[in-house]
Amino acid sequence: MMNDMRKIERDTVASEIKIQARGVQVFYGDTHAIKDVSVDILDKTVTAFIGPSGCGKSTFLRCLNRMNDTIDIARVEGDIHIDGDDVYDPSIDPVQLRAKVGMVFQKPNPFPKSIYDNIAYGPRIHGLARTKAELDEIVERSLRRAAIWDEVKDRLHEPGTGLSGGQQQRLCIARAVATEPEVLLMDEPCSALDPIATAQVEDLIDELRRNYSVVIVTHSMQQAARVSQKTAFFHLGNLVEYRETGQIFTNPEDPRTESYITGRIG
């Protein structure tokens, strides 16, 4: 496991707080899924959320772009500020928020449209391109950023669903970055991928850190160790520990964190 931690030694760039969450509580009906979570997520940093299944890490991630709004029985309390703006303020439209906070899902979910239309959809609905040439440029730039341009440049008008799993997930990442978000949320983006595709996506995440604040939920501690600078450990809806990735894996403070990373709970 130590071999996988090569990137931990990398410097964490001292950067500003992008997302500030205070006292967040989430209820699914009668279930108390997130209990009083407060966390500061930095800009231009990869933050990993780890923890056993059902610990609430995905739920918390989905609070950040208000995807929980689509679940009727979900109720969110507390404050989440992105760049100082309250995400749950009634004056904030979730549509506006999600243009700023992109999301990549666990299972690759390209639209059953062409590769080009998959990428162009977001810019089109937000009116980011005035001409066809501008749109072409956005599509190319997004696909390049997701490291998939060379593989698909000759078949932009074939369906995105015809790509392999790893390609589909990179297509979804390209789709997410096409709207120029400031934060990128990734919900177990590699769980449906083979090791090679996983490595490609991880390299990509490291690239994306230059422009975005990336928050990634993962089941794999090795992955958290490889790609993130900060790690948050969730357990039973509580945020147990949130520190530099290197510290959390080498010198955990909380006994629960230690049990989890040494494989005793999970």
Binding site: V95, Q96, G102, N109, Y121, A176, T179
Partner: protein, 434 residues
């Protein structure tokens, strides 16, 4: 058996799992076998019934797809048909005279014989001649060649449906009439071409002239109106209920009642339409427009249920994907969910319309079973529909309508099969994988 062993044996771990599995294999295979036999049996039974239905319809209906015609040289006598009396005139006398001139034993002065001779031709023959003369009055005084339908009894004779061995007093045609027909046959004046009148003629009292034109056009208008009303309303209601409506007691109540609406007997919708559309709004009776509105009441729940099922079947990952890039609810529904649900919606709609096409009871109540001898020129004209036309013909006493009823059922089944085939084609054509 496994349960039995477990119950009697205090220690179920006597044999290995493999032994236990082997012991139960025969029983499990036998059960599977029985299930397969039952399945194949029930499918065979269904096919047998379908085969019997189609076979009986074809055997009684195929005769109606041809119609016996007679070709005559007709001298248009200016004395019988004077130019100044057009469009009136003794066209029937002209035709009778022309028949008498070719038959050996027909005496033009024997009134009874001449009347019997007139009954050889269809009642429509004189009108066919009249229309021709009115169109071109120069024909008066000339001889024209005409091919006209023979009347129903002679058509039956030609198709072998009248037994010549039956004693004369029990037979519809007397010996001398059969002799006339045989003479005409020998002269090769009789032909039996494809009965285009079955499709191109409106209804008639005379089987040899009766056709489905009015019913086809009436059914078309009724289905058109039904589609125009039920398709947008049904899809709109389904989208609202499935995507936008809050999930509460009221939406549950609405849902239960839409399912109830789909189960209401069609005759009840007919009574409702009679009371509301005709009685209250004063819309015309027997009109395909009213028929279409009535059928729309029945089709709409079907479309709503099919559309909701199709919307539900769209994977949530597609919605999340669209929401994730910042699409609004409306953009998600109309840009992604609805196009993906469209094949299912179209299939449900066509099946709903096919049901509406075959629906009879509500149309009877709003008077679409009237006897109407002209095709409607619009949705507000009186008309019949295919199923009500079948109902009328099945009720008619003339022998010729027996085969025509079967033929009309075959035409209706043909349309239904076509519609179902289209729905299967659309489903396969536009089904997308993700």
């Amino acid at each position: 058996m496994a349960d039995a062993t477990a119950g009697t044996d205090p220690n179920p771990k006597t044999g290995s799992t493999a032994d236990l599995v082997r012991a139960s294999l025969a029983r499990r295979n036998r059960k599977q076998m029985i299930l397969q036999v039952l399945g194949i049996g029930s499918i065979s039974f269904a096919f047998l019934m379908l085969f019997i239905l189609i076979a009986s319809l074809v055997s009684s209906g195929y005769q109606a797809f041809t119609q016996t015609h007679i070709t005559l040289e007709v001298f248009i006598d200016p004395e019988e048909v004077p130019l100044e009396r057009l469009p009136r005139g003794g066209f029937d006398d002209v035709l009778e005279a022309s028949l008498a001139s070719v038959l050996e034993d027909a005496d033009p002065n024997d009134r009874a014989a001449m009347r019997a001779l007139g009954k050889l031709l269809s009642n429509g023959a004189q009108f066919k001649l009249r229309d021709r003369v009115v169109e071109d009055p120069d024909l008066i005084g000339q001889t024209v060649t005409m091919t006209v339908p023979v009347s129903d009894p002679y058509d039956q004779l030609n198709k072998g449906l009248i037994d010549r061995e039956t004693p004369e007093q029990y037979r519809r045609l007397k010996n001398f009439e059969i002799a006339w027909f045989d003479q005409l046959m020998a002269m090769e004046a009789i032909s039996k071409p494809l009965n285009t009148g079955l499709i191109s003629n409106p209804d008639s009292r005379f089987p040899e002239l009766a056709g489905l034109k009015g019913a086809l056009i009436g059914s078309f208008w009724a289905l058109f109106v039904c589609f125009v009303i039920s398709f947008p309303l049904g899809i709109g209601a389904a989208i609202y209920l499935e995507e936008f409506a809050p999930k509460n007691k009221f939406s549950d109540f609405v849902e239960v009642n839409i399912n109830n609406l789909a189960a209401v007997p069609s005759v009840v919708f007919g009574l409702l339409a009679l009371a509301v559309f005709i009685g209250w709004f004063g819309l015309p009776r027997s009109a395909p427009f009213v028929g279409g509105m009535t059928l729309a009441l029945m089709t709409m729940p079907t479309i709503i249920i099919a559309t909701r099922a199709a919307l539900k079947a769209v994977p949530p990952s597609i919605r999340e994907a669209a929401l994730g890039v910042g699409a609004s609810k409306h953009q998600v529904v109309f840009g992604h969910v609805l196009p993906l649900a469209m094949p299912g919606i179209l299939t449900g709609t066509i099946i709903g319309l096919a049901q509406a096409l075959g629906e009879t009871a509500p149309l009877l109540l709003i008077g679409m079973n009237a006897f109407i001898t002209s095709a409607p020129s619009g949705p507000f004209d009186s008309a019949t529909a295919l199923p009500t036309q079948i109902f009328i013909w099945a009720d008619s006493p003339e022998r010729g309508f027996v085969s025509r009823t079967s033929a009309a059922i075959l035409v209706l089944l043909g349309f239904l099969i076509t519609m179902n085939a289209i729905s299967i084609y659309l489903r396969n054509r536009f089904e997308r994988s993700w």
